[in-house]
C-alpha cells in the first residue's frame, strides 16, 4: 500500500490515498482543536458514567465496589477502543463532531490499531494536558499524535454530502474552440455556481473571457452559461 500523499502541493491538508481498486480517496485529517473538543465530550461522558456507576454500585456493598472497579477500569482503558472498533471508528464525542479513526490507508480501524493508539494515549498525555500529543500532531502534516504514529492511524473528518446543484435551463451553445480538461471543469463549475454568485461577480468572472469568446463583457455571462450547458449535455 503506497503511503498517503498530500492531495496537492498547495496548502491543502487533504491526503490522497490510492485504493486497491485504483481510485484515489481524499481524506481530510482533523486538527488538534477539533479532536480536543471531541475528547472533552468523551471525557465528560465518562466522568458522568463513572459517577453514576459509583452512586449505584456503592450501595451494593463490596460486591458492588469490586464490580465498580472493574467497570471503571473498562471505562478508563477500553471506552475508546470498544467504540472505535464497534462503532466504525467513532467514539460518541467523535461522532458528535463528525470525526472518525481510520488506518493510514483509509480502511476502518481494527482491534490491533485501536488498542495500540489508545494505550499509547498514556504517553501522549505526558507530562500534562496532552503536551506530547499536541507537539507531535503539530509537527506532522497528518496531525497524528504519538499513538497514531505508532499504530498507523489517522483521525479524519467525515465528509459531508455537497449541496445539490440547481441548474437553470439554458440553450446550449458549443464552445468556439476546444477546451482542455481543466478549462472544461472551470466552465462547468461556473455554470453550477450561478446561484451562489452575485450578478456583478458573474460579470467580472465571465468578462475575463469576453475577448476570447468574441462578445461584449455584458453578454459574456450568458454565453459562458450556454457553453457550460453544452458541455454538460442533455439527458
Amino acid at each position: 500500500m503506497p503511503p498517503a500523499t498530500p492531495a496537492t502541493s498547495l496548502l491543502d491538508t487533504r491526503l490522497r490515498v490510492e485504493t486497491p481498486e485504483g481510485v484515489d480517496l481524499l481524506l481530510s485529517p482533523a486538527s488538534a482543536l477539533t479532536r480536543a473538543r471531541a475528547f472533552a465530550v468523551d471525557l465528560a461522558l465518562r466522568a458522568a458514567l463513572s459517577l453514576a456507576l459509583l452512586g449505584v454500585l456503592g450501595r451494593l456493598g463490596e460486591l458492588g465496589i469490586g464490580l465498580g472497579l472493574i467497570l471503571l477500569f473498562l471505562l478508563n482503558w477500553w471506552y475508546m477502543v470498544l467504540f472505535e472498533v464497534l462503532n466504525q471508528g467513532r467514539s460518541p464525542g467523535k461522532q458528535l463532531f463528525g470525526l472518525r479513526v481510520v488506518h493510514e490507508d483509509g480502511t476502518p480501524v481494527g482491534w490491533g490499531a485501536a488498542l495500540l493508539r489508545n494505550l499509547l494515549r498514556f504517553v501522549d498525555m505526558l507530562p500534562l494536558g496532552y503536551c506530547c500529543g499536541l507537539l507531535a500532531s503539530l509537527a506532522n502534516p497528518r496531525f497524528q499524535r504519538l499513538g497514531d504514529l505508532a499504530a498507523g492511524t489517522l483521525v479524519i473528518h467525515q465528509p459531508r454530502a455537497p449541496a445539490a446543484v440547481q441548474l437553470e435551463p439554458m440553450t446550449p451553445l458549443p464552445a468556439p474552440f476546444a477546451l482542455s480538461a481543466a478549462e472544461q471543469r472551470a466552465v462547468l463549475a461556473y455554470g453550477e455556481r450561478q446561484r451562489q454568485l452575485s450578478p456583478a461577480r458573474r460579470e467580472e468572472l465571465a468578462g475575463l473571457l469576453a475577448p476570447l469568446l468574441g462578445v461584449t463583457a455584458e453578454q459574456a455571462p450568458l454565453r459562458l452559461q450556454q457553453i457550460a450547458a453544452d458541455l454538460r449535455g442533455t439527458p
Partner: protein, 325 residues
C-alpha cells in the same frame, strides 16, 4: 458521453448503493443484497475514474468521491470473528510471539528480577534501607497484610472481608493499569519501561526482603507464589514490549524511525493482549486462592510450583506443532 447522459444512466446505481450504505452504516445486515455490494462498489470506482478522466464537473466528482469513500469504509471493515482468533492466539500465537521476543524478554527479566533480588538482599542485610523506598506507614500496612495471625491475606485483609469480588476488581484495575503504563511509556525511548520495571522490582524486592527478615516468610511466600507465576511474568512481558518500542526508536536499522516504530508496535499488540490475559488469571488466583488461609503452606507451595511449571511449559512448548507442519 456528456455529463448529463452519464448521470442519467448511472443515477439509479448510485441511489441503490447509497441505500445499501445507509443500512451498513447503521450496522444492519444487507441480507440478500449483500452479494451485489462489492460489485456495485467496483462499478462505482470505475465510474468515478471515468468522471475524473472526462473532466466532468467538480460537484459530480465530489459526490462520487464521497460515495466511494463511504463504500470503501464499509467494504474494508475489520474482521469481527474475534472469538476464533483469540482462541487461536491463545493456543499457538501467544507462545510463539513470546519466543520470538525472547531477547527483549530476557533483558526485561534481567532488569526486573535483578533489581528485585538485589534490593531484597540489601534490605535483608541492611533493614533500614526499606525506608528509603517506603514510608513507615506503608511498611506497617505491609506488615499487617502478611501478619501470620490474619485470617486472610493481601490487600483489604484488615477488613476481614469474605467478599473476594472487591479484591478481584482492585487487582484487575491496579495491575493491568500498571502493565499498560509499563508498555506505553516505552515510547519514551524505552526509558519509561525501564523506570517501571526497576521501580516495581525495587519495591517488591524491598517488601520481600523486609517481610522475610521479620519472619513473615511463610505467609508472604505462600501468598505470592501462586499468582506470581502469572503476574511477574506479565510485568516482564509488558516491559519487554515497551523496551521493543524504545529500541525501534533508538536503533531503527535500515528503516525510517517511523516505519520501524509502526512495525514494532504492530508486533507488540499480541504481547500486550497476552499480558492482559495473564493478569486476568493472576487477579483471579490472587483474589480466590492466594488470599485463602485454610490450606497449609505446603499445599500452597506445591500448587505454586505447579503453576510456575505450567506457565513455563506453555511458553516453551505451546504452538510448536503447527510450526513444524
Amino acid at each position: 458521453m456528456k455529463q448529463a447522459q452519464f448521470e442519467t444512466r448511472h443515477q439509479a446505481d448510485w441511489q441503490a448503493l447509497a441505500g445499501q450504505l445507509k443500512l451498513l452504516e447503521q450496522g444492519r445486515p444487507l441480507g440478500a443484497q449483500a452479494g451485489e455490494f462489492a460489485a456495485a462498489y467496483r462499478r462505482l470506482c470505475q465510474q468515478l475514474a471515468l468522471a475524473q478522466g472526462r473532466a466532468y464537473s467538480t460537484s459530480l466528482v465530489e459526490r462520487l468521491q464521497l460515495l466511494t469513500l463511504r463504500a470503501h469504509q464499509q467494504l474494508y471493515r475489520p474482521r469481527q470473528n474475534l472469538g476464533p482468533r483469540l482462541l487461536g492466539f491463545l493456543i499457538h500465537g501467544f507462545p510463539r510471539q513470546v519466543r520470538a521476543a525472547r531477547r527483549s524478554i530476557l533483558l526485561a527479566s534481567l532488569l526486573f528480577y535483578g533489581s528485585l533480588l538485589g534490593m531484597g538482599l540489601l534490605v535483608y542485610l541492611f533493614p533500614d534501607l526499606i525506608y528509603s523506598l517506603l514510608s513507615p506507614q506503608q511498611v506497617a500496612r505491609m506488615e499487617l497484610m502478611y501478619d501470620p495471625d490474619a485470617s486472610r491475606l493481601g490487600h483489604f485483609s484488615e477488613r476481614g472481608s469474605s467478599d473476594d469480588w472487591l479484591m478481584f476488581g482492585f487487582y484487575i484495575m491496579n495491575n493491568i493499569g500498571i502493565a499498560f503504563k509499563t508498555f506505553a511509556s516505552g515510547l519514551l525511548l524505552g526509558l519509561g519501561s525501564l523506570f517501571f520495571l526497576l521501580f516495581n522490582g525495587l519495591n517488591i524486592g524491598a517488601v520481600a526482603g523486609h517481610l522475610l527478615r521479620i519472619g513473615y516468610d511463610q505467609t508472604f511466600l505462600s501468598f505470592v507464589v501462586g499468582h506470581g507465576a502469572f503476574e511477574l511474568t506479565a510485568i516482564t512481558f509488558a516491559g519487554a514490549a515497551g523496551l521493543q518500542l524504545g529500541g525501534a526508536l533508538l536503533a531503527p536499522g535500515p528503516r525510517s524511525r517511523r516505519a520501524a516504530l509502526r512495525e514494532t508496535a504492530r508486533g507488540c499488540v499480541g504481547l500486550v493482549c497476552g499480558v492482559i490475559g495473564l493478569l486476568l488469571v493472576a487477579a483471579f488466583i490472587e483474589a480466590y486462592w492466594s488470599s485463602v488461609t485454610q490450606f497449609s503452606a505446603t499445599v500452597k507451595y506445591l500448587v505454586g510450583a505447579m503453576l510456575w511449571l505450567l506457565v513455563g511449559a506453555y511458553f516453551l512448548l505451546g504452538g510448536r506443532q503447527r510450526q513444524a507442519a
